[in-house]
């Protein structure tokens, strides 16, 4: 990040999110905001509630109390597919691809939300259904090209190596043309080279499509490199929020996280 980056308005505002599982508090009044076009990281030790946070944002978990406003629209409880249709896409910590389908089909499934032609047209494979299918194929191919997964286009994803699966998952999320992309440990389990590639793709997505990115990542050097601002969670509470440098200097963070040797 050599030049000063400019961000838009607040795209996501999370206020007082609390969540508990059977009496155990996973999140306790966490608040933060995400600006349009920024790369926002959520970090914290294991069990800090990071994934839970993402799950609340896209409606998978229903927080006990909260206000989550996306693009100014406030939702207390929403369904995950609503979140998807509002423009939130995500990837998962443990790859959640459709293993029986090809890469292309996975990416196309990412665009399902945009495909409206009903089953009667489809059963004929004629007229508008074909037109729609082909248009979206083209869009899907652009994503495939963007992430350089052409050679595995027609491979069933269950047979792909881990790193590529991660990339296909990103492709599927991107295919939905989201305004905000939630990435849950996109680089977990990757080697150095794969991580570098993934970083490049994430930054490319952010720049090319102006997609806002919220990511969880364990590798601190990656987080410090690519994110604009960082939220630090510990035991479900927010303990710091700011630029990578600010967070690095924060004593509570050092105590809770950086001071503890990980991996």
């Amino acid at each position: 990040m050599t030049q000063e980056r400019q961000f838009g308005n607040t795209i996501l505002n999370v206020e007082n999110v609390s969540l508990s599982f059977g009496g155990v508090k996973a999140l306790d009044s966490v608040s933060f905001d995400v600006l349009e076009g920024e790369v926002r990281a959520i970090i914290g030790p294991n069990g800090a509630g990071k994934s839970s946070m993402l799950n609340c944002i896209n409606g998978f978990y229903k927080p006990t109390e909260c206000t989550i406003a996306f693009k100014g629209e406030s939702h207390h409880q929403m369904e995950t597919h609503q979140a998807a249709s509002m423009g939130i896409a995500r990837t998962f910590q443990n790859i959640a691809l459709f293993k029986g389908m090809t890469t292309l089909d996975n990416v196309m499934t990412g665009r399902n939300l945009k495909m409206k032609k009903n089953f009667l047209w489809q059963s004929l494979y004629f007229g508008p259904a074909v037109k729609e299918e082909l248009e979206h194929r083209e869009a899907a191919e652009r994503v495939i090209d963007f992430l350089e997964i052409e050679s595995i286009r027609k491979t069933v994803v269950g047979r792909l190596p881990y790193g590529l699966q991660k990339r296909v998952e990103l492709a599927r999320a991107l295919a939905a043309e989201p305004e905000m992309l939630l990435l849950d440990e996109p680089m977990a389990g990757m080697n150095h080279e794969e991580k570098e590639d993934m970083c490049r793709y994430i930054l490319d997505v952010n720049e090319q499509f102006s997609t806002t990115i919220v990511l969880i990542e364990h590798d601190m050097s990656v987080v410090m490199d690519i994110s604009d601002r960082v939220v630090v969670l510990d035991y479900g509470e927010k303990i710091a929020d700011g630029t990578p440098d600010e967070v690095r200097a924060n004593q509570r963070v050092v105590d809770a996280y950086l001071g503890v040797k990980h991996d």
Partner: protein
């Protein structure tokens, strides 16, 4: 071996997404069509039509229907017999209530009834998964058949409890009733199978099929990328039941001629159809058809094989022996190729494409 794919490149997505992108496959399909539509009618006799081919096609439609639900959408159902019964009884009520109604229209309308019933029984699928759902569909199976058995209105108060196909013509050809020519009935079932198979294939390769497979492979992820689970599953139940309903109508009106609810019970229909899709291959239209052929022909073969080689056995003994062999073959097949005929077909095709190389 026969494939010459070099040079068959695609310069449009339309060509790339064609149902048979390889020329040789198109030729193969053309041959299959010629055989099914022209050669078989010329050479088959009544026994073949009645005992083998018509039930094969009718069950193939039901199997495709169940494969949409179970193979593509991942919802195991043991109630296909009941949905077929809905189609059959609805057709019976329609054609006896409105004698002027074209029987083909009646078949399709009955399919819609079956679809509606299927969707009602698909509602639990939102909350119940896996075998729990499978057992729950047994509720549909038992309940629906019980209703058709109990409520005399459904079989027009016929004292024997049977529903019987009345004679009905389409374009001057008698297609149902005892007088209908086997070859006419053969064509009706074949045409239905052709249309339904293509319709299923088309849905399966479109966004709907992808939504089903997404639900099947990982429902949580599917929901998060915006696929509505209930909507998608209900559509699968509806379309699957539509297929089964029409198949049920053909089962009585084009094949058996008359029947009572027992014809649709677990052992006669639901399990065999499930076998068809498992042995044919889950999530494959072609597999459904191959599986239907196998399961239809296997018992006939087992019945006819011992006398053919000159072994005389009592009918009762033969029946039980048949059961054993059928069971053993099912287990054997599942062990040898759990992914079914479709997989075998794919392997064979791949071998021929790569010939003489192994990979």
């Amino acid at each position: 071996m026969f494939y010459r794919e070099a040079g068959q490149f695609k310069s449009s997505y339309q060509a790339d997404q064609a149902i048979f992108p390889i020329i040789q496959d198109r030729w193969f399909m053309a041959i299959v069509f010629v055989v099914a539509y022209l050669v078989i009618p010329l050479i088959a006799d009544e026994y073949w039509f009645q005992a083998v081919l018509i039930p094969f096609y009718v069950f193939a439609i039901a199997a495709i229907g169940l494969n949409i639900l179970t193979g593509y959408c991942g919802q195991v159902s043991l109630g296909s017999g009941a949905f077929m019964a809905v189609g059959a009884y609805a057709t019976f009520k329609l054609v006896t209530g409105f004698p002027e109604l074209n029987i083909i229209i009646a078949f399709l309308l009955s399919g819609l009834f079956a679809a509606a019933v299927g969707m009602i029984f698909g509602l639990p699928s939102l909350r119940i998964k896996g075998f729990y759902l499978a057992v729950a569909t047994l509720a549909a199976q038992f309940f629906i058949l019980w209703v058709f058995n109990k409520v005399a209105w459904f079989f027009n108060y016929n004292p024997s409890g049977f529903i019987t196909a009345p004679p009905r013509e389409v374009f001057g050809f008698l297609v149902s009733g005892p007088e209908a020519a086997p070859v006419t009935r053969y064509y009706v079932s074949l045409i239905f199978l052709t249309i339904f198979a293509f319709a299923a294939k088309n849905m399966a390769r479109g966004h709907l099929g992808r939504a089903w497979m997404a639900i099947r492979d990982m429902d949580v992820a599917a929901e998060i990328i915006g696929i509505r689970p209930l909507h998608t599953k209900l559509l699968a139940f509806g379309i699957s039941s539509f297929f089964c309903g029409v198949a049920g109508a053909l089962y009585i009106f084009v094949w058996l001629g008359s029947a009572e609810t027992e014809a649709f019970d677990l052992l006669n229909v639901s399990f065999p159809v499930l076998f068809m899709i498992i042995i044919g291959g889950l999530g494959s239209v072609l597999g459904s058809i191959l599986g239907a052929g196998f399961i239809t022909i296997l018992p006939i073969f087992l019945t006819n094989a011992p006398p053919m080689v000159g072994i005389a056995i009592s009918a009762d003994f033969a029946k039980h022996l048949e059961e054993i062999i059928f069971g053993v073959m099912i287990i054997f097949f599942l062990i040898v190729e759990p992914a079914g005929f479709n997989r075998l077909w794919q392997i064979a095709k791949e071998k021929i494409r790569k010939w003489p190389f192994p990979y």
